[in-house]
Symmetry: C2
């Protein structure tokens, strides 16, 4: 009948428009290895290693500013903890770095409306000295507006750069809206500014400033550089809108010293095949100094270590799993660079890190999509029950594994939901209570599944004969 034919035609033509492929043309089904599923689900339901690590590190050490005595205590804690968990070859790989530390800080509107604002120095900020500096505010709504300004508009003044970063699940605002922090101080210095304050690179509305690193490049002399909280930046904009000259007294006492020392803490689960390429995973041990570094990045070392420990509990992988708690990531990825250098000859099956908080992983991507499609499909199948979608357009990311990847290691990225990450990132508010234990376990489950798949197979440990 005509109506039947029309129906069939509609079906055939409508399907592609809806993005639906014929079942006949689909690739063979990817099934999840029951061993992998069991490990994944066990971690999802009952992992406690990750919580224990991040709770212990943030409680018993607290903040761990790179190159300081606190970070050294954190390394001692890491060695003790990783050894107690049964990892092999636990050791510190030290390296040198310049150390920046924070001193007294404050910002005060002198006129027209006297009041205190909340500010924090950016990493490698110049120092105002304890007496502070006083200058008129000159306001720009982007780093480009500052670049376009004549030197005469900036010289001797305190530059203020505003912006309006919005939350994004993939964290995509951090690149663009982070420019005032990364480039602003150098540009302001080259134009002769007395100092610079920026609106915190953050998406919250709390009186907690977001610090973060910046460097003075292009021969720019260090000037005091700080971040106002978001509410204080909005307050400053309201004050500026009254149209009167705004004078600020700014105090940012800070210190930079050469000859500091940091280190990477390395631990392994030795593979059955010592010659097989290694799986490299980790996060960074150092933190900024105002919170306790719970989401940045206590969570990352906890998640990846817990996943490795879940594998260890199940037996011995074919490939060695190397867990690294990187040192001195925040001031510029010193640990990642040191690791790549120290292990230049090593061969890697994969390199990946966790450094975007502790909220749910929502998507993943890996170079294996092109080089090892079967493993890619196995990852896709094993991660989908955790709600994780494949991201075919993913690119390598991560400061700590960046140099290792550039040197040739294949990469994997398990992307966390960053919607609330920049509410907390680099603020005093980065504390343990921001971690949701249920979402933390989902992270561990995803990494456990990924390591299990990429490990080359896990065999039960041979039973050791009791000594006689």
């Amino acid at each position: 009948m005509k109506s039947h034919l029309l129906g069939a035609l509609l079906l055939a033509s409508a399907a592609p428009a809806l993005g639906q492929t014929s079942i006949a043309t689909l690739p063979p089904p990817a099934l999840v290895d029951p061993k992998v599923a069991t490990l994944r689900d066990h971690a999802l339901e009952s992992d406690h290693y990750a919580w224990d690590i991040v709770e212990g590190l943030t409680t018993e050490v607290g903040q761990r500013l790179a190159g300081t005595e606190a970070e050294a205590r954190a390394r001692d804690w890491a060695v003790k903890t990783l050894t107690a968990l049964g990892f092999s070859n636990v050791h510190v790989e030290p390296f040198d770095m310049p150390v920046w530390t924070r001193g007294a800080e404050g910002a005060e509107i002198v006129s027209p409306f006297p009041q205190k604002l909340v500010v924090a120095a950016l990493g490698y900020s110049g120092s105002t000295g304890p007496e502070g500096v006083t200058g008129e505010i000159v306001h720009f709504d982007s780093v480009d507006a500052l670049r376009a300004a004549p030197d005469s508009a900036v010289k001797g003044k305190i530059v203020f750069i505003d912006h309006d970063m919005m939350p994004a699940q993939d964290g995509s605002g951090y690149g663009q809206f982070g420019a005032p922090r990364r480039q602003g101080p150098t540009i302001a210095s080259l134009k002769g500014a007395l100092a610079i304050v920026i609106r915190s690179i953050g998406t919250d509305h709390h009186r907690n400033p977001h610090t973060g690193v910046q460097y003075f490049t292009d021969g720019a002399a260090p000037i005091p550089a700080g971040a106002l909280t978001v509410p204080d930046s909005e307050q400053l904009v309201r004050i500026l809108k009254r149209g009167k000259p705004v004078v600020m007294h700014l105090t940012l006492v800070s210190q930079k010293t050469a000859g500091g020392r940091s280190g990477n803490v390395v631990a392994e689960i030795p593979g059955r095949d010592p010659n097989a390429p290694v799986l490299l995973v980790g996060g960074h041990l150092d933190s900024w100094d105002q919170g306790t570094g719970a989401i940045d990045d206590g969570a990352g070392v906890a998640i990846t270590t817990a996943a490795a420990k879940q594998i260890m509990d199940a037996g011995r992988p074919l490939r060695t799993i190397r867990v690294v708690w990187f040192g001195a990531e925040e001031p510029g990825g010193f640990g990642g660079t040191a690791l790549a250098k120290a292990h230049a000859g090593d061969r890697y099956a994969i390199a990946g890190e966790s450094d975007f908080g502790a909220d749910r992983i929502w998507r993943f991507g890996t170079q294996l999509m092109k080089t090892d499609p079967a493993t890619y499909r196995a990852l896709e199948a094993a991660l989908a029950p955790l709600g994780i979608v494949k991201n075919d357009k993913a690119e390598a990311d991560g400061t700590d594994v960046d140099e290792t990847i550039k040197a040739g290691a294949p990469w994997i990225s398990l992307g966390q939901d960053g919607t609330r990450y920049f509410d907390i990132h680099h603020t005093p508010d980065d504390t343990l209570d921001k971690i949701d234990p249920v979402q933390l376990r989902q992270n561990v489950a995803a990494w456990t599944a990924a390591l299990a798949i990429m490990s080359g197979g896990i065999e039960p440990e041979p039973k050791r004969r009791p000594r006689r």
Copy 2:
């Protein structure tokens, strides 16, 4: 038919069980005066006075600690603003008070896990001096547990009182869970404690401490008394749970001086009948010193003043509307006491204040329920379209109008949704961005409707003859 009869019986018997009254027995319908509805809806849709006041006060003055030069500037701002809005009889009624001010602050765990915590002194805290004090922490999970402890357990130590206040729409946790702040310092002092820190009386998880007032009573000598943030209190509990002695270095520099001065700012819309009892409304002008006092209580003076201004724009009320911006509420209701004393002979038709933030009003109560049921029903009818329910069990509340009510004024209470109030209350986070302009307008609309109903009727101003 039997089934019909059964149906009728079920209907008759089920109705009371569901709380449904027969329509025949309901009181006569209460209809909203169209003039009142028009004023209410105009405020709801387009009031800008409240936003302008709270934006202006928090921007151009900022914090307004009671008795300080900042509060004096706020009074100047208030007089200027109320005069410009067209209020009559704008003046300051000064009074004396002791002034407490905050100095340097800090808390540091010395052992077993060295780290800094975030603390703020409570009002009228004793001072540690700039060098601070060091002592072992003794932990109690309630103020009653502290009361029950032998002096020997407390003597020479730093008391820490924990609690677990939860958010509540009616703010009911503040009484019970506020006890550690109000009573803790005195009890600790009487038992010989070196100092006391409490978990902030707050429901948030940010690194912003909640200050607030306390007094040393019963002959207790002032000791340093501070509030740790909620995340820091939880951190301290985790550290204490490790079972090792915990030593804290505490610095709370603060100063109390006699001979301070504050004042109430009073403004009026003169009623057509100068002998009619007055409508008294307002909020408090002073704030704590760390935020800009947006929700506590810039919003309150803004809401009540905007509502009065909406009446003024419509014409002249029969009864005088008196708006008071009370001084020095936070340190103990000095302004409310001063007003009641200065106006001891005045007769009031109503007294009410707005001092619970700027979120939606969700219920109301008033003494008029008993003394003037017709007005009560008119209020009920006019407020219901704003989502406001009557609260037959309400009691008088409010520090500023308390003494006036005790002296005989009938009271009205328009209760705001306090679910998030104690996230922000008395913290550095009390800033303008916490106010939702839409909810602020709902507040103005409710107060406008209430004032219109209680005003005795608004008549258009007689047209003034142009001067020749």
